[in-house]
Amino acid sequence: MSRWILAAALVAVAAEAGAVNPAELLDPQDAFRISVRALDAHTAVLEFRIATGYYLYRDRFRFETEAGKIIANAELPSGKVKEDPFFGRTETYRDYVRIKVPLSDANLAQKRVRLKVISQGCADIGVCYIPQEQWVEVKLDNASRRGWP
């Protein structure tokens, strides 16, 4: 679909994000908005901006290289812990989460690295989304010189 129609759709959902009812359920890519940048030549930082009333499960994240290799040692911050008598212990993120994903030395020579990000979450109004697969591209140009608080 053309760019301006999608952009218009995004404006519409952003306006709705405050009050949620089933008819206005956000698409997962709008409920969980991802962005990425390089922290340094060895680390990508992923940020998820999570719409109000939505949450992501900490243990459902998965990161893969373009070749399909699983990146095991991503740094996921602690989430909100819930001891569910039924589903056991779950950790969830709301509003915002920042995840550090290490890049392998093999990437050092490259200017861009593509990562596959898999995440899964739910909405408080009573639905869970199927896992979402997204490709992000990390630009490594000048990454080591860029400051990061």
Partner: protein, 242 residues
């Protein structure tokens, strides 16, 4: 006779001008769309001087509104200002409706209470907390037929569990034990199951969340709606036969 002719003429004239606008709207949209979406319908809305354009995208139908000069595009929902009726939502529901008979109920885990009059089919994952709540609520209703379509999409564990349930001697009990009481199914998940086919089926409908459910009218809903909300919907879609 004269009156009738005049009416017919007037009708013809409006039909003609409506068509001209329609064509303009269609042309404008076609110029903007590239690739993944296609225009499904363009029609005048019955509640205002606007055209509704339905685009068929990979995620299902999307509704836009355009003025009759095809110069302004509106994205959003239209409500009846007096009654609060949501026109856009109603249209969306019609557009995503399926034929009840087309649902693969041969792959369902079906339980019936009372005369089974009210019918519902639910795409449900065993690890979705809202599916558990929704099914638990429905279990308190009488005169209902519940078709669970095991939609194992939240993880590999769900697939393994759903297959084991399907391979159980008593599927209804095995499903309810798992979903409501967290008792793992004992059967080996190695019989012929429809679980993979159901995952494919749900994806083909663009069901990207659980629970996603259907009334006998074919209308589709998402989420664990409260019993107070779902009961009238069930009664409306499956009216009592006299």
């Amino acid at each position: 006779m004269i009156v009738r002719l005049m009416l017919a003429g007037a009708f013809f004239a409006t039909a003609l001008s409506a068509r001209a606008d329609e064509a303009a709207v269609r042309r404008m949209f076609e110029g903007k769309l590239r690739g993944s979406g296609a225009i499904e319908t363009v029609q005048k809305v019955p509640w205002g001087d606007l055209y509704e354009v339905v685009i068929r995208s990979p995620d299902g139908p999307v509704i836009y509104y355009v003025d009759s000069a095809a110069s302004v595009l509106i994205v959003g929902q239209a409500f009846d200002a007096k009654t609060g009726r949501n026109f856009t939502e109603e249209r969306q529901r019609k557009l995503t409706a399926v034929k009840w008979d087309s649902l693969p109920l041969q792959w369902a885990i079906t339980s019936k209470r009372g005369n089974g009059r009210r019918k519902i089919a639910i795409l449900s994952d065993p690890n979705c907390p809202y599916c558990k709540r929704f099914e638990g609520d429905l279990a308190t209703l009488d005169d209902i037929t519940v078709h669970i379509l095991p939609y194992a999409v939240l993880g590999p564990k769900s697939t393994q569990q759903a297959k084991a349930v399907w391979c159980s001697k008593n599927r209804v009990q095995a499903w309810n034990d798992l979903v409501q009481r967290r008792v793992e199914p004992q059967a080996a998940p190695d019989c012929d199951t429809p679980i993979d086919k159901l995952a494919e089926y749900g994806r083909s409908l663009g069901a990207n969340s659980t629970p996603t459910w259907f009334l006998e009218s074919g209308e589709r809903y998402s989420g664990a709606m409260s019993l107070d909300e779902v009961r009238p919907l069930l009664d409306q879609a499956s009216p009592a036969k006299r």
